[in-house]
């Protein structure tokens, strides 16, 4: 008997379709669980240990001008912070765009504005805010706080602008008197900004480090609006032998008066000047070597700090200390850190009680490090370090057992052999 192949074509097609479909395995099978797949993961054990062997509050040692925003605050006896913005090269001549290479002396300034961007998160704004701009040109180094603060005098006042609270949304444009620019043409112009109001004032202006070109000084060299504006960004020429530092000093916060630090019997995080906490751990070897850590919670007991904004929120994050054993000064070790992908602790300075911070990912980083080479340590710091006066305070390792920092670790001791 001879069969016609055409009659079998659908069957052949189905067979080869199944052949091709089976080239990709699909093994996932969940319908049988749990009855056919018991005892998968084992149990999770939890221990709480006094793992902190050393803790200390240290200065943040942040470089002047590296802050991501400029704090401008006038809060009575508590805080006095001002902003400095430098334009170290005000052009004395102007050249028209195009083929004409003739330089024209700048004799006229028109429509001069200083544009700045405002960050109102955490701001303390009265109904009206006045910004006073001073000419603080000086040969004094930028780190000479007292010398520069002394330049905020009435005879150096460039302009004042009063803004309604509702006008402070994103960007502010402050008119600058033409004479102030003409007086500095061909040289540097350093502007000091101070805030005042009927009540305490606190606001942050974005810095060059915190945003792309947030501050611009612009003006025309002629009333003719068809002539292009001169647009200048913050720029510092000094110190001339340290270009990175010079770049940072294009704008910076001048902290005339900071917050009082907490007592030595506490761990203090935040404040102005900024402080952070260095915390060194001794983790049992089996946690590092023999088990899988699922969760690690740092238990911190907070002490209330009622000095300033006790109900505002300060956010604290842990960094991993990368300082090796050669760095014996914890103040320096606290600066050599790496960002860890972990939890953020949100507390109010006036709060109290046990607060928790998850650091399991840091424990897993430590598994790949030798404690003999790199002490197992973290650094706790405020996310607004150097730009916010908020300070959270915690009990240190010398405190009572239920108040000192502790580490709660949940781990799985499951080890698969592969045998069914």
């Amino acid at each position: 008997m001879e069969l016609n192949f055409a009659r079998l074509r659908p069957a052949v097609f189905l067979i080869f379709a199944a052949f091709a479909a089976a080239c990709t395995e699909k093994l996932d099978n969940n319908a049988g669980c749990p009855i056919l797949c018991p005892d998968q993961g084992g149990t999770i054990s939890t221990i709480t240990i006094d793992a902190v062997t050393l803790d200390s509050t240290v200065s943040a040692l942040e470089g002047l001008g590296t802050e991501t925003s400029l704090l401008v605050a006038t809060r009575g006896d508590t805080i006095d912070a001002r902003a400095i913005v430098r334009f170290d090269s005000i052009p004395a001549k102007y050249r028209k765009p195009g083929a004409d290479t003739t330089d024209i002396d700048v004799t006229t300034v028109d429509s001069a504005f200083l544009r700045m961007r405002v960050d109102t998160v955490g701001a303390k704004l009265p109904s009206n805010l006045t910004l006073d701009l001073y000419d603080v040109n000086s040969t004094a180094p930028d780190s000479a706080v007292a010398a520069i603060a002394a330049l905020f005098t009435a005879d150096r006042l460039i302009t004042s602008v009063t803004l309604a609270k509702s006008a402070l949304k994103d960007t502010i444009n402050i008119p600058i008197p033409p004479a102030a620019i003409l007086a500095r043409k061909g040289g540097p112009m350093r502007i000091g900004i101070r805030a005042r109001g009927p009540e305490s004032v606190q606001v942050r202006l974005l810095s060059e480090e915190g945003a792309g070109a947030p501050t611009i000084l612009s003006y025309r060299v002629s009333p003719d609006t068809t002539i292009a504006k001169v647009v200048l960004g913050p720029y510092s020429k000094t110190p001339s032998d340290q270009p990175i530092l010079a770049s940072s000093l294009a704008d910076y916060t001048l902290l005339v008066k900071g917050t009082a630090t907490g007592p030595a019997s506490q761990l203090n995080i935040g404040g102005l000047p900024a402080r952070r906490v260095y915390m060194r751990f001794e983790i049992p070897a089996f946690i590092i070597d023999s088990v899988d850590v699922v969760r690690a919670t740092l238990l911190l007991t907070q002490q209330p700090n009622l000095t300033i904004d006790p109900t505002d929120t300060v956010s604290i994050i842990p960094h991993v200390s990368l300082a090796g054993v050669a760095v014996t000064d914890v103040a320096k070790a606290a600066q050599i850190t790496a960002v860890a992908n972990t939890d953020t602790l949100h507390v109010t300075p006036g709060g109290s009680g046990v607060k928790t911070l998850e650091i399991a990912n840091i424990i897993n980083v430590w598994r790949s490090q030798s404690s003999a080479d790199t002490p197992r340590a973290i650094v706790l710091l405020s996310t607004l370090e150097g730009t916010s006066p908020l300070e959270a305070r915690f009990y240190p390792v010398e405190a009572a057992p239920d108040q000192r920092p502790r580490l709660r670790i949940s781990y799985s001791a499951r080890k698969s052999t592969g045998l069914p």
Binding site: M1, N30, G41, N341, E398, S416, G418
Partner: protein, 382 residues
């Protein structure tokens, strides 16, 4: 600066009892323990319910079967399985691709052959993912536990067959058991900032030996009988250089009979007994000794594209070696297939479709499994 030496000495009492866990998470009736036994049958033998397996030169069970292979030959088999598991109202569909058998033999003179083969003894490929609630550090969280098992135990055989007469064949085989099981386990949590994912990979290797022997007797042109057996030696499960556990390769004995009195057709049956319980020292999932029986018919079919076809049908019953939820598992399968030759009869292509139903003997275990196994076999005489 404050400094304090932590009183960690108290932790000495926290002596770690690191729990060594077994990878039980195999999720299907047929993949418990070290996995599913494909049966070490060629596509042709599978289509006859295993009836001709004791006479089949491509199936590495009876070494006597290769004795009268008159030409050098190679055989390769591809065998995907489409499985559906139903349990407590939920269903999972899986696809497993296998290359369960390769064999080759060359004749030595006109009355003997030597052959090699590699066949899957137990295929453990499976994956499960379970989500449940778990308390971790005082917080109840959802945890997803995933287990993925890949690999198999393979039977490598070197066989010698001799046929002193056309009525009598005998053969001997030596077997080495190798292979690898890789177990990927992970435990993950939705909140990755608070919880860390656990990931573990373990690799299990196997090393075992066995010997086999078989005979085939044809007292008349219409009848044939075959008997084979395998005696297992040690079987080790190893991790890196260490032996984790040691048991024995399962012994096996099989018997087959064939009737070829109908021109162009043969009717064959087989029955076998596998002593899987000899593996019990390797596993906490109990293995049981199993029976297997099958019946099949092979007959000349119609010509297709001017080629002679061979049609096969068969049925097979067996129990699976590893208990599922404490119960033995039955497997009843029905198969049909077709084979034809190409390239001046130097290549033979067989296709078999088998439908298998699996269910636990204990009716309290409600799981049911249904599988369609497609088997493609290509035999070449170079």
């Amino acid at each position: 600066m404050r400094h304090r030496t932590a009183a960690l000495s108290s932790l000495a009492v926290l002596a770690i009892a690191v729990s060594f866990s077994n990878a039980n998470a195999q999720g299907a009736l047929s993949t418990q323990g070290f996995g599913y036994p494909p049966g070490q049958m060629s596509t042709r033998a599978l289509a006859t319910g295993g009836g001709i397996v004791e006479f089949d030169a491509d199936s590495p069970l009876n070494p006597a079967a290769i004795a009268l292979s008159s030409d050098p030959r190679m055989f390769l088999q591809y065998e995907p399985e489409f499985r559906r598991l139903t349990n407590a109202g939920s269903t999972s569909n899986t696809t497993t691709a296998r290359f369960p058998l390769f064999s080759a033999s060359v004749p030595i003179g006109s009355h003997a052959s030597v052959g090699i083969s590699s066949a899957t003894l137990l295929d453990r490929s499976s994956a499960t993912s379970v989500t449940r609630e778990m308390e971790v550090g005082g917080t109840v969280s959802t945890v997803t536990e995933s287990t993925r098992l890949l690999g198999a135990i393979n039977d490598l055989r070197l066989a010698f067959g001799w046929a002193p007469s056309m009525k009598f064949q005998l053969g001997l085989g030596i077997h080495a058991y190798t292979g690898q099981n890789r177990v990927f386990f992970s435990q993950s949590f939705p909140d990755s900032l608070r919880f860390s994912t656990i990931s573990q990979l373990s690799t299990l290797g196997f090393r075992g030996y066995a010997g086999s022997a078989g005979i085939m007797v044809r007292p008349s042109r219409n009848f044939g009988f075959a008997l084979s057996g395998r005696k297992g030696s040690t079987l080790q499960a190893r991790s890196a250089d260490s032996a984790l556990a040691e048991a024995n390769v399962p012994d096996r004995v099989g018997f087959g009979a064939a009737y070829e009195g109908i021109p162009g057709s043969s009717i064959s049956v087989h029955v076998s007994r596998d002593m899987w319980s000899r593996m019990n020292d390797l596993t906490s999932t109990e293995a049981v000794d199993t029976w297997e029986g099958g019946l099949g018919i092979e007959s000349l079919g119609p010509r297709l594209i001017q080629r002679q076809t061979i049609l096969r049908v068969g049925a097979r019953y067996r129990t699976l070696p590893f208990l599922a939820a404490g119960s033995e598992v039955d497997e009843l399968s029905f198969a049909g297939g077709i084979g034809t030759q190409f390239f001046r009869n130097r290549a033979t292509f067989d296709v078999t479709l088998e439908r298998a139903g699996r269910k636990p003997k204990d009716s309290e275990v409600g799981a049911r499994e249904r599988a369609y196994i497609l088997s493609f076999g290509l035999r070449v005489r170079p």
